[in-house]
Amino acid sequence: MNGRKVSSKRSAVGLSVLSIVVFVILMFPIYWIVVTSLKKEIEIFKVPPTLVPHELNLDSYVAQLKHGDFNMFGSFKNSFIISASTMLISLVLAIPASYGIARFKFKGKRVFLLSFLVTQMLPVSVLLTPMFIMFRNAHILNTQLSPILADATIGIPFSVLILIGYFASIPRELEDASRIDGCNRFSAFLSVFLPIAMPGVVVCVVFSFLYGWGDLAYGMTFLQDQVMRPITAGIFNFMGQYGTKWSYLTAFAVVTIAPVVLIFVFMQNYIISGLTSGAIKG
């Protein structure tokens, strides 16, 4: 069952081939929208469907650049601002908090830990209506601050829980040694702790960014003005307006997932470690 060594070379090759088949089946939906975005509208309706575009068509992308009855790249920028700010807030607050929980003993520590765990499981639905009213009263509705503030409520607890593990794993001797070398607590934190926790910080950077990038509910509810909305809300809008213009819609989808796939390809190991440690250690 658990044999890491497979009995013969031939069966190893067989497994490799099988894994590629499984991979192709599971990834087909993504392949399919990429291909569709490169087809002409007429070819999309062809029966039987064509697996590769007969005539390469980049219009769906170019059209977005030229005339903008809907500006895809504008909403791309909005998503970027929202995600990057979410990430910044999450890190600035989560790094000290996780350090504090991991390295100090104080009353109520368990309560903090438990509340971070519970908030991580909160459904968007519970926060949406009260936040809407709250932001409305604070006059920040229809500014990008409102989805940023809301998205960080997912990024902070996640980052705290990930980073606690990293900070807690650092041996106390290392800290003592740095003190003898004349570091104060703060410089010890910067020169000793932070570098060791760096892999964890990268996980938090990636995930808090992706939480912001993937959000639809906050972005479309708090921002009424299409010009300010993130790309996910843009897609939703576009689907309502051009429900059957699949070449445009799929191009839009490809542009939305492109940064996610790029981040993933470069950060694969970090992401998988973040997912497994976040869930199991949870």
Binding site: P29, V47, G100, K105, L117, P123, L127, P130, I133, D215
Partner: protein, 300 residues
């Protein structure tokens, strides 16, 4: 210097580190939770939204909702959706984890790349599957017609039963990698010697799986299922974009129904009440999950 050291040795400085994040979460998560509960007992709509004192109506919202067939459908849908997704994504994810655990050339990069469906925004996943399930251009209908299984295209998203099925398929696609990667991580902690010894003793693969792999993996399996429940039970984007509860309110989940009541019908209090029902169910499962994680840690 001594005094400073003593102060630092005193753990209380920990508060200073935790305080900013804690305040943020109290203000932007704690306060909304409390005000959502209060909102469920008030009658807030467009006209009373701006008034300082909002009428208190007790359980009125909940009573209205309980008589509403749409709420009942949504509650049933949410459970059917969650259980359906859990069963599918867990069994497929487990099978893939066992498969990749056999180790063969190329296993690592392929296993990694299969995480992509879990990473992409749910809005895009919803768009992809809306396209694939669409009546006239969907590849699923085209494929079924090509192999002669159906004569006429099926209106997948226009029929309550098949629309629910399509939603489960789409969400399972997201959940498979999540289950696979966690179960795989669990499998790698089981020593190879154990199963090898069992094989020498003449145990069949199935027997070794039942008697060794599953029991040793039990904590991971329970964690995966409970986390899967929590994540699936609160899904919003996917259903909102793919069917938006339609046709005729038949595919609403509690999350999308809550959104519709609050932001399409502007019955903020009823929307909040539905969200509270969702919250109570999730909280119960979360507490069970946490208790179980803690017990496990203390036992270890």
């Amino acid at each position: 210097m001594k005094r400073i050291r003593r102060f630092f040795r005193n753990g209380n400085i920990g508060y200073l580190f935790v305080l900013p994040a804690a305040l943020y979460m109290i203000l932007l998560a704690g306060y909304p939770i409390v005000s959502n509960i209060i909102l469920g007992f008030q009658d807030v709509n467009v006209s009373s939204l701006n008034k300082p004192d909002k009428p208190f109506v007790g359980f009125h919202n909940y009573r209205i909702l309980l008589e509403d067939p749409v709420l009942r459908t949504s509650l049933v849908n949410t459970f059917v959706f969650t259980i359906g997704c859990l069963v599918l994504q867990f069994s497929i994810g487990f099978a893939l984890a066992l498969f990749f655990n056999r180790g063969f050339p190329g296993a690592k990069p392929i296993r990694g790349l299969m995480m992509i469906p879990w990473m992409i925004p749910m809005t895009v996943t919803a768009l992809i599957f809306k396209f694939m399930f669409s009546s006239n251009v969907g590849i699923i209908n085209q494929a079924l017609q090509a192999i002669g299984l159906v004569a006429q295209p099926i209106d997948w998203l226009l029929n309550p039963i098949s629309a629910r099925f399509a939603l489960i398929v789409a969400n399972t696609w997201i959940g498979i990698p999540f289950n696979m990667i966690l179960l795989f991580a669990g499998l790698t902690t089981i020593p190879v010697e154990l199963t090898e010894a069992a094989a020498i003793d003449g145990a069949t693969r199935w027997h070794a799986f039942r008697k060794i792999t599953v029991p040793m993996l039990k904590p991971v399996i329970e964690a995966v299922l409970m986390l899967g429940f929590i994540y699936t039970f609160k899904v919003f984007d996917l259903v909102f974009v793919m069917t938006n509860g339609g046709p005729a309110n038949s595919t609403h989940l509690l999350s999308t129904l809550s959104y519709k009541l609050s932001f399409s019908l502007f019955k903020y209090s009823q929307g909040a009440a539905v969200a509270n029902i969702l919250f109570v169910i999730l909280l119960t499962v979360s507490v069970l999950y946490l208790r179980f994680v803690y017990e496990d840690k203390e036992a270890a």
